[in-house]
Symmetry: C2
Subunit: 228 residues, 2 copies
DNA sequence: TTCCCCAAACTGCGATCTCATTTTATGTAA
DNA sequence: TTACATAAAATGAGATCGCAGTTTGGGGAA
């Protein structure tokens, strides 16, 4: 039967199947489409995506290595990690340190087209009124980190984001889309970048991260939070 | 090559085969037994280790995700990454930031048995005279980072170390085993930890890292260094 | 000797299958 | 109704196989 029962075949983009699965899962994690604690098995995912379990296995192993997923039940299966208060607070501390460093470097090293890109993303926010897009916030931050010119730093930050990604939309709903919507800190960041002021850039990023992570700490850890 | 036929089966320790391969490759990377630029193919490695290519494939994918290895020739094969001067300098900067943060946290959070462990590792150095063991240096650093109590930070630092690991022994030889052998900064670190002085701990770690990475920058990038 | 073309070998990717182990469901006995 | 033993289902790990794309090496022609 070629008529599939449900909505499969969402794998888009170039590259091998396993890479497309990784991209797909990364996107779904950052969109909150995968709930913390959710179990991902090779065969079920493979059936959903209409591929064999093999590239799924590759993709899951890679995401586990990136700390975007974790092994559960011994080696039994892979799951979306649950975060308790302590872990989320830890994540906040490390994000402030690591992304603060990235902001410092970006302030010292950005090139004109990179600052233009950052400003363009910030401008997107002000045209539409009620679109608290988490993706826009993400693109804003990573445009800055890319301007740090550090090939070493970017994967580290990517791993950090994937770890709290599943909790973003839940807190976003409860907080009325405050995360990344209030542009106050973002404007401060751009201003600091433009002035090549590393200290101010770090301070603004730390403030932005602190506000966002405090929202997660307050509203993100609902009933399903600290179970495992 | 006659030694190929008998030099297999070095996989020790518990767990699935793929995990043992990961451990084995990690150890070999940190010991400099794998040269930068060296190509690792599924089948050859599988034959060496006397396993099927499947767990090797899993292990290589995981190490690529950790940036300990990289894909070469498109998607053709996996190789030990080569570092050029810029990349190594980038690594130095990020190490100073990230491991400096870890030292700060460790100074604030260490528990008695952890400080005792750190001091014990430092004491090892002074008993034996001429053993500039890189492994001891590594254990010293990671004992400190473990005392940071940050589950998020440790994997990040582990990834950083694997990236410069292949260059450590070469610089170690040329520098006469200076890396990790001069205990000056290590003693400063322990002193700062004991005093719960986060600033001093960070400064001492940064000095230690700076000295080690400068050695790598000076002596580690020989002829085979900046190829890719 | 030099250049070029084609065949053989090699490589990673993906599919399929088996197996040991664990989880889950079922049915029986207390 | 509850407790437990047993069967059935599910799962990850690993082995084996085939395929498409690339590299490589050898042989023939100029």
């Amino acid at each position: 039967m070629d008529d599939q029962t449900t909505s499969e075949a969402k794998l888009s983009g170039p590259g091998p199947v396993n890479e497309r699965i990784v991209r797909d899962l990364r996107t779904r994690l950052m969109r909150g489409e995968l709930a913390p604690g959710e179990i991902l098995t090779h065969r079920k995912l493979a059936e959903q995506l209409d591929v064999s379990p093999m590239p799924v296995r590759d993709a899951l192993r890679q995401l586990v290595a990136e700390r975007a997923l974790e092994v559960a039940n011994g080696n039994r299966s892979v799951a979306v990690p649950r975060l308790n208060h302590a872990k989320l607070h830890d994540l906040k501390t490390i994000r402030e340190g690591v992304e603060g460093l990235a902001a410092r470097l970006a302030a010292e090293r950005w090139k004109p087209h990179e600052l233009a890109q950052i400003e363009a993303i910030l401008a997107e926010t002000s045209d539409g009124a009620g679109s608290p897009d988490a993706s826009r916030n993400q693109r804003f931050h990573f445009a800055i980190y890319a301007a740090s010119q550090s090939q070493v730093l970017l994967p580290l930050i990517g791993s950090l984001w994937l770890q709290f990604g599943p909790y973003l939309p839940r807190a976003g709903q409860l907080a009325g889309g405050k995360i990344g919507a209030g542009d106050k800190y973002h404007r401060e960041i751009v201003e600091a970048l433009r002035a090549r002021d590393a200290d101010a850039a770090e301070a603004a990023i730390v403030a932005d991260i602190g506000q966002a992570m405090d929202l997660l700490l307050t509203h993100g850890l609902g009933d399903t939070g600290s179970g495992g």
